[in-house]
Symmetry: C2
Subunit: 673 residues, 2 copies
C-alpha cells in the first residue's frame, strides 16, 4: 500500500497535501506478504526490484528506486528502467549486514514531458515560440527552488531567441539538464511506496556445508565418554573434508528422571548416558555444559581452534527441559500443571515423552520466559557461537521466534539460525518468514526424478525463495531414510552428491554418514539402530570404505565453483531415461557453469540422451563444447543440445561436468582474417 | 498483515498482550492489493473466503470468518471449514448495498484439542482419570467466564466418576458442548486478520444491456434537431428491444469557440451543432441542459418514463470544458496557463484539440475543483440519474476518482459508474480498483478464436475479476471497428451475439448498430463517416434489414437465463476448427446452462467437432442430452463429449444452446424397480 494512497482512506475529506499526486505505484517486488516480513539476501547479493508505475494522461513519469541500510542517514536513489507496459526495474546490492530498506518513488515530470513533446512538435513542423518559454519557465522554477546556478544558466540559454533552433533543441536534450531537473522533484507531486525490508546476512547463510557429530562419541577409546578435548583433536578431520560448519547436538547437563535408555528404551540401564535433548540436571540447564564433556573454557578453545581451520561451531537450541532442569523448580509458572499437581510432560497422544517438559508459551508469565530464552542465546553468543540449529521450532509460537531472531540480529546481524522443522509446508515457510536463515527440507525423502525435479524447482524458483533458504540433509540422527538403508556405498555417494550440488547449503550427520551406517532399529523404521541419541559410540574413522576422501573432493569442487554457491540458477534439463537426472547451475555472469547428470539407479548402469537447454547454458548450438567431469577428470567433446550419457554405478553416481565453452576458433587467428 | 502481528514490529520490546497468541492467519482471499482496494459483489452474491491458518505444535485450531455490513453494530461469525494443508474456507453473501467487511479470526482451542486427544487415549487403552479432570476444568473455566449455566452443568457431568466411560465419552463429544465452548474464546489467545472490504452494488452492476443514442438524432423529421420530447417517444423502441440502460452522450450546452464541423473538420460551418463533449457555453456548463434539447424538467420526465419501462437513463460525465464554459472565467485557476497568457487547450503532441480545455488537476486550487466536480455528479443524482458513463477517466488522477466514487457511494450506494478508458491494461485495472462498477474492454478489437479465448478467459478467471467488471461493446460513436466494416449483417449479428453472451454487461451504440452502419470516414479509419459526434442524423428505424428483432430476441434470452447474467462461469470448450468458438456459462447451482457455438467466419459455412468438458457442464458422459438452440428453436440429441456442428452464416452466426440434461430414464419408472 503506497503512503500517499493510504491517506485517502477517509473518503469524504479532501486529503491534505496529496491531491496533486498523479503517479501511482503498484506491485513492488520482491516482497513477502505485502511487506509483513523481510526478504533475505547475503552481503553484496543483488535485489532486482520491479514495480508497476504509471499516471493518468500522457505525461512522462520518472521512477526511482530508493534504498538504504538501517544505519544510513539518507536514501540512495537510482533511476528505474522502463520495461514496457508500465513495468519498471532497478537493482541494488545491500553492502552491509543487518536490515536494508527499499521503496519506489515516482512523479509526473513536466520537464521530461516538455522535452519529449518538443521533439514531436518540431518533427511536425509546428511553431515552437511558446514552447521555449514554457521550457525555460520550468527550468527557472527549478533553479529558484534548488538555488542551482547551472540550472539558471540553462534557463537563460533556452530563452535565447537568437540561437538557431537546432542548437536550442540540443540544449533542451542535454543529459546534464535532465539530470539536474530530476534531482529536485516537487515534493507535492511525488508518490512514494511503503518501504520493504531486506535481512542482509553473512555469506555462510547462503553457502555452507554442515557436519553434525556427537561430542560424546569422539573418544578413540571404545566405551570411554568423549570429551571436548577429544573433539578438539577431531576438528582437523572435519575441516580436511571441507566442511565449514561443525554442528553439535546439545552439550548441556542431561536429566536423570525418566531418562531414556539405549535404543529409546523407556527405562535407562545403569550407565546409559541419556538423550542430550533432555536438557538440565542438578549440574545446570541451558547455560551450562555437561560435566562429562568439559568446561565452558574447553568449548571456547574448540570454537577458536575450529575458526582457525575455517570451521564455525554451531550449537543446538532445544527449548525444552528434563524434569531435573533448574527452571522446573525456579519457574514452575513456565510449565503447564496437570489437575493432579504434576507438570505436564511432552506428548502427542497417545505417545508420551515423560523425560521432556515443554515450556507453556501460553503462560501468563510469558514475558519473563521469552526474556530468559533470549538470554540463553545471548549467553552462547558470548562464548563465541555464531550459528544455531534450532530444534523443533514449530512447537513454539511463531511470534516468539520472530521477536527472538529480530532482537538477536539487531546486535549480531551475522548470527545464523537453522530451522529444524520437518512438518507441513505452511508451517515451515512461516518459520522461514519469521527470520530463520536456513531451513531443513523434504529433500531427505525425495528420491525419484519426478519428486526431485518438482521439489527442487519449487525451492529454487517459487516466490518463497525470497525468504526460505533450503539446507539439504541426506541423513540426521533422527532420520536414516529408506533411500540409504538398501543402497550401499553408491547410494550414500548419490545422496550426498545430490545434496551438495542441488543445495548450496547441505549437511550430513557423521561419522554415521561417511562410515555408511545403514542399520535401522527395525524393519520399516527410519531410526538408527544403536542411535547416538541414546548412547555413546566409537567410530573407526580410518576404515577403507569411508567416504571421507569423496566428501573432501565434493566440498573442494563446491568451493572452487561459484555456480554451486547459490540456488536460484538451478535448472533441470530433459533426459529420456527416468533414472538419469540432469541439471545445471551457473553464475549470473555465466562465467562458471556446472552440469550434473546423476544416475538415480544405484544398482544398474543406465544410459540415455540428455537434451540441454543451450540458451540457459549460454552455449552456441553450432559450436562444440567440452564437458569436464570434475569427479572423474574425464573430458568429452559435445555439440548441440542432445548428448549421450552412460553411467555405471560401480564408477560413481554422477557426472559433475564443468562446461568449457569453445572460446577460440580459426577465426581468432590473425592469418584467418 | 494481521493485527496481532503488526504490533510485533518493534522487535526489542515484548509486545503487550499479544505474546500468548499462537495461531497465525495468512493469505486471506479474495483481496485486492493486500486490502488497499475493495473487492466487488452485487447484493446477495457469494464471497468465498479462503485463508491459511495454523499454529505451532499439534493443538486444534478453530477458525472463523467474521463479516458485517458497515451499518451493522457487530460482526457475524461463521466457522471456516478445513480443506487440508492448513487451508480454510467459508462463504458469506452481503445482504445490503454499500461497504461490507470481512476478516478471519482463529485461536488454539484447548477444549477441541482435549476432546480429540481423549479419543486417541481411549483408543490406546490409556487411563483417562486425569483427563476427565482436565476437560472438566476447561469447561468450568468457560462457564465462569461466560456465566453459562449449561456449561456449568456439562462440567459437573464430566466430573461424574460414577458414570460409565462410554457415556462420558459421548458427553465430551456432544456438539452442543463444542458449540458453547467455541462461543467464548479467550481474547488473549485470538489472532485476528485485518479487515477487507467488499463494495456491494446493485444487480445492474453485474448484468446490464446498454443502448447508447444521441438525443439530437431522435427527431423523425429529417434535418430537425431532436429534442427530449422526441427522445421520450423513442423510449419504448429501446425498451422493446430489451435493453435496460439508455445511455446519453453529454446533454449540456455546446461551446461555440473553435467548434468542430461535420466529420471533425477544424472549422464548423454555419448550423453545425458541434461535439456534445465540448461542454459549456453562455447557456451554462456541466449542470445545464443544451437549450435545443429541452429543459431539466423534460429530462426528469424521461428518467421517470424510462424507469417505468425497465430502462435506467445513464448520463455522460466528461470533465472538460469548451473555451466558452462559465468555469473558464469564474475559475481560471482550474486551468493551466501558457506563457503567453492563453489557456492550455487539450493536446497529445503533435495533435491539438483547441475546442477543449482540460482541467489542471495539479492546480493549487484542486480542493475546490474536486468539490465542484463532486457537486456536478450530485446535481444529476438529484435529477434522478443513477448511472454514469465516465468519459476518458484515465486523463484525470486516480486518487480523484477514488475519492469521488467513494464519496458518492457513501450516500448513494446504488449509483453505477462505467469507466470509458481504452488504454493500457494497468491503467484500466487501476481505474476499476478505484471504484468504477464496470469498464470498457478490448473486446471491440478481439476477433479471432485465439484472441477471444485468451482475453475473455483473463476477464473471467484472473484475480482482476474481483474488481474489474467488463462491459463489452461491439461499437461506440468513436469506434467502428474493422470487424464491422466488411462483414455485413451477419457480422453485426455475430459481434452482438458474442458481446451479449460472453459478457453479462454489454452495450451497443445505436441506431447505427441495428441499422448496420458500416461506412468509415476513410479507408483504414475506425471513425464513422458523418459521425453523430459532429452532426445530427435521421434514422429510418423501420428498415427491413434492421436487427431490432434479433436484438430483442437476444435480450429476451439473456433475461430468461440466469447463466448469462454473470461472467465467472465462462468456460471455453475445444473445437477442431478455428472458425468455431465454443463456450458455456452455467449458474453456480448448475440449474441453467447455456452453450454457445459461434461461427467466426461470416462468409462461409463452417463445420467441425466440438469436445465438451462434460464435468464442467454437469453432464453424464453415458447419458444422451438435448441441446436446444434458443435462437433457431432447433433441437439436437447429443451424447458424450464429441459432437458435430455445422453453421451456415446465412442462417445466423451461432447456436445458442440451452442444455437439457436427460433427467428421467427407465430407471425412474416404478415397474423397472
Amino acid at each position: 500500500m503506497s503512503v500517499e494512497a493510504r491517506k485517502l482512506q477517509a473518503p469524504d475529506r479532501v486529503p491534505a497535501g496529496t491531491g496533486r499526486v498523479r503517479a501511482v505505484i503498484e506491485n513492488v517486488r520482491p516482497q513477502v506478504d505485502g511487506g509483513r516480513f523481510p526478504i533475505k539476501r547475503i552481503v553484496g547479493e543483488a535485489v532486482r526490484v520491479t514495480a508497476e508505475v504509471f499516471a493518468d494522461g500522457h505525461d512522462c513519469v520518472v521512477v526511482q528506486l530508493l534504498h538504504r541500510h538501517d544505519g544510513d542517514s539518507r536514501w540512495h536513489a537510482a533511476f528505474m528502467q522502463g520495461l514496457g507496459n508500465d513495468r519498471w526495474q532497478a537493482t541494488f546490492a545491500p553492502a552491509a549486514l543487518g536490515i536494508a530498506r527499499y521503496r519506489v518513488r515516482a512523479w509526473v515530470d513536466h520537464f521530461m514531458t516538455w522535452r519529449r513533446d518538443l521533439q514531436k512538435r518540431h518533427a511536425a513542423g509546428q511553431d515552437l515560440g511558446v514552447e521555449w518559454l514554457r521550457g525555460a519557465a520550468l527550468v527557472e522554477a527549478a533553479a529558484r527552488h534548488s538555488g542551482s546556478a547551472r540550472l539558471a544558466a540553462f534557463a537563460a540559454r533556452l530563452c535565447d531567441a537568437g540561437a538557431p533552433t537546432e542548437k536550442r533543441l540540443e540544449l533542451a536534450a542535454h543529459p546534464a539538464l535532465a539530470a539536474l531537473m530530476q534531482t529536485h522533484p516537487d515534493p507535492a507531486l511525488v508518490a512514494l511506496s511503503d518501504s520493504l525490508e531486506v535481512m542482509v546476512e553473512s555469506p555462510r547463510a547462503r553457502f555452507s556445508a554442515w557436519y553434525e557429530l556427537f561430542p560424546r562419541s569422539t573418544s578413540p577409546d571404545p566405551g570411554r565418554h568423549g570429551t571436548f578435548a577429544d573433539l578438539r583433536t577431531r576438528l582437523s578431520y572435519v575441516a580436511d573434508m571441507g566442511f565449514d560448519v561443525l554442528y553439535l547436538p546439545p552439550i548441556h547437563p542431561i536429566g536423570i528422571t525418566a531418562r531414556k535408555g539405549r535404543n529409546n528404551r523407556v527405562q535407562a540401564a545403569p550407565g546409559d548416558p541419556g538423550s542430550p535433548w533432555a536438557i538440565g540436571s542438578a549440574a545446570g540447564g541451558h547455560k551450562a555444559v555437561h560435566p562429562e564433556l568439559g568446561t565452558l573454557e574447553d568449548l571456547r578453545a574448540i570454537v577458536s581452534d575450529a575458526r582457525a581451520l575455517g570451521l564455525e561451531v554451531a550449537l543446538d537450541i532445544a527449548f525444552q527441559c528434563s524434569p531435573d532442569h533448574p527452571y522446573v523448580h525456579e519457574h514452575p509458572e513456565w510449565f503447564r500443571k496437570r489437575p493432579d499437581g504434576s507438570i505436564q510432560y511432552a506428548e502427542n497422544p497417545p505417545k508420551t515423552y515423560q523425560d521432556i517438559y515443554p515450556f507453556d508459551f501460553e503462560s501468563e508469565a510469558w514475558p519473563a520466559l521469552w526474556d530468559e530464552l533470549l538470554e540463553v542465546v545471548r549467553f552462547w553468543i558470548g562464548q563465541g557461537i555464531r550459528i544455531f540449529r534450532v530444534d523443533n521450532p514449530h512447537t513454539k509460537p511463531f511470534h516468539f521466534w520472530e521477536w527472538l531472531i529480530r532482537t538477536i540480529k539487531q546486535q549480531h546481524p551475522d548470527v545464523i539460525f537453522l530451522s529444524e522443522a520437518f512438518t507441513r509446508p505452511n508451517v515451515m515457510r512461516r518459520l522461514a518468514k519469521t527470520g530463520f536463515s536456513q531451513s531443513y527440507t523434504y529433500f531427505t525423502w525425495r528420491t525419484t526424478k519426478h519428486e526431485l525435479v518438482e521439489y527442487l524447482t519449487e525451492l529454487a524458483q517459487h516466490d518463497s525463495r525470497e525468504y526460505f533458504r533450503p539446507n539439504l540433509w541426506p541423513n540426521t540422527p533422527d532420520i536414516l531414510p529408506e533411500n540409504l538403508q538398501f543402497t550401499g556405498r553408491t547410494g550414500f555417494m548419490l545422496r550426498v552428491t545430490l545434496a551438495a550440488t542441488l543445495g548450496a547449503n547441505y549437511g550430513i550427520y557423521g561419522p554415521a554418514f561417511e562410515l555408511l551406517e545403514d542399520r535401522a532399529r527395525e524393519p520399516g523404521s527410519e531410526e538408527y539402530l544403536d542411535s547416538e541419541k541414546y548412547q555413546q559410540r566409537t567410530w573407526d574413522l580410518d576404515r577403507a570404505d569411508s567416504l571421507r576422501a569423496y566428501l573432501a573432493h565434493l566440498n573442494r569442487i563446491r568451493r572452487e565453483h561459484p555456480a554451486l554457491q547459490a540456488d536460484w540458477s538451478l535448472h533441470f534439463h530433459a533426459s529420456d531415461n527416468d533414472a538419469l537426472l540432469c541439471y545445471s547451475k551457473c553464475t549470473t555472469a555465466g562465467d562458471d557453469c556446472v552440469l550434473c547428470v546423476a544416475n538415480l539407479d544405484v544398482h544398474h548402469s543406465q544410459s540415455g540422451w540428455v537434451t540441454l537447454d543451450l540458451d540457459r547454458l549460454g552455449i552456441d548450438a553450432a559450436q562444440p563444447f567440452q564437458v569436464h567431469d570434475l569427479l572423474s577428470s574425464a573430458r568429452f567433446l559435445w555439440r548441440g543440445a542432445r548428448n549421450f550419457v552412460v553411467l555405471d554405478p560401480s564408477q560413481g553416481p554422477a557426472h559433475l561436468f564443468l562446461l568449457r565453452r569453445q572460446r577460440r576458433s580459426e577465426h581468432d587467428f590473425d592469418y584467418f582474417l
